[in-house]
Amino acid sequence: MVAGFKIRKREYYDSVFLMGVNKRLAEYPGVTQTAVLMGTEANKELLAQIRIGGPEIDAAAPNDLIVAVIADNEAAMDAAIAGLDAVLKAMTESQPASDVRTLRAALERVPGANLAVLSIPGAYAADEARKALEGGLNVFLFSSNVPLDQELELKRLGRSKGLLVMGPDCGTSILHGVGIGFANRVRLGSIGVIGPSGTGLQEFTSSVHNAGGGISHAIGTGSKDLSDAIGGLTTLAALERLEADPATEVIAIVAKPLREVTLRILLEAADRVTKPLIGCLLGADESMIPSGAPLEWAHTIDEAVEIALRKAGVKPVLPDEGSKNGVPSQVKSIREGWGPEARFLRGVFAGGTFCYQAQQILRQAGMVVFSNSPIKPGYGLDDPDCSVDHTVVDMGDEHYTLGRPHPMIDSRERARRVLAEAADPTVAVLLLDFILGYNAASDPVGDMLEALADAQTLREKSGGSLTIVASVCGTDDDPQDRVLQVKMLRELGVYVFDTNARAVDFCVKLLKG
């Protein structure tokens, strides 16, 4: 095995583009591993893990491109590195070029702009967001790793200027029907929703749409907005706007549990809301909410959707056929197919909120469940790569995404984990999520099919069958063909549900017998 690298000075590319380059270089014969990334400190640490380092790497700057190749022999390595020029050329040519290099130049070109969408490395994101706010733009800040003090400063600046700051670490918003970032195509309607989690908003808005309702606005706040350090500044701004918005008749907040200080701030704000308000704080204890609080409590996203539809006067259409899969006779026959040791659930999620909600539902059903992103202290994994007993893993966690694309756009890490779980004879049920919508993978199920089929084959060889349960988050109007995505899963014998909560409920039935 030989390893080598090449550094191209002052050539900046975004991480999704580099993922494409990486994929093409990895296809060169004799190549076992490639890493194509910008010379940031975090990326240098990743390179060190595959034993690529030295003074040249140390000296690389964040806008220097590093290409590392590990191959069977020197000739294969040299060929892959030499192929870089051709790959870059082909990929650059297929991407539309822009002659605008700065925010300021863009504002001069489009003086009527009212929203900046920022997905640049976190170290630079706050600076650009500040410039956007000062230029009178609202901000959708997808970038993560923005320090809390900078987040607070941006949100205060936004507030003083009457501008909305969605993020940092904001995955999803839908403003009057327009999906920003990772969003599903949903019809316009009277239900407004606010939340820190992209997948939480995707599940809520898709479910409302699939049940026949519509969304006025879905406002992403960023993952840290409801921390005590930020005090829910964007959540409060969003709440005020939806209260004043004539199109919105019902408001829902979908979030994780809050600490006391922020909860009090939120409840005070809720007091000023005259429209029906639904609070879904996943994993929170209901006793946190004082009796007589001005919001209706929902335990799961499904329940929040149900209440919202009722309040909006929408009679929900029946859920997808897959929900009928939970009949007891089927549970019995599925269990009879398991091998002698099989008894555990392994969830391998792309969506962090799905991992979180799954833990909540499993715990409420009396099951002990571990996670790399545990809902309660004491239930973490010692090694995130090694599951124990019932385990659910958030593959979007930093451990898996540092220097790599998120599992919603690149399924390779998730496919590897699925195979590792299938090789464990104590695993009975594999639980997955598939997320559709703008900017998600163009064929999320197709990308995982081979791994799922291999997992089933692997298990059959060792005796017994592996039960795979999945939820598909999305609508029939999404760019991916939802019907086809579901069909591909069912043809493989996967039990498919239209929401994460329904899929987890089915797993509970299976495991409890």
Binding site: R10, Y12, D14, V16, F17, T40, A61, P62, N63, P96, A97, S98, D99, V100, R101, T102, L103, A105, A106, L107, R109, V110, G112, A113, N114, L115, A116, V117, L118, S119, I120, P121, Y124, D127, E128, A132, G136, L137, N138, F142, R159, S160, K161, G162, L163, L164, L175, H176, G177, V178, G179, I180, G181, H217, R241, L242, A244, D245, Y438, N439
Partner: protein, 57 residues
Amino acid sequence: MAEEREDILHQELVVINLGLPGFAESLGAQEVEVIQVDWEPPAGGDQEMIDLLDQLL
């Protein structure tokens, strides 16, 4: 006191996209006016130089 400004919820979106071109493409597909900025780290990612430029500009 906050500046008086029309709420983004009541305006047609006109977007400046810095970063992932896919975000601009999906907005374009929804018939939103969007301009893509081919962003690069300022001053080659050198923090001292960025601070200096910020002071100068």
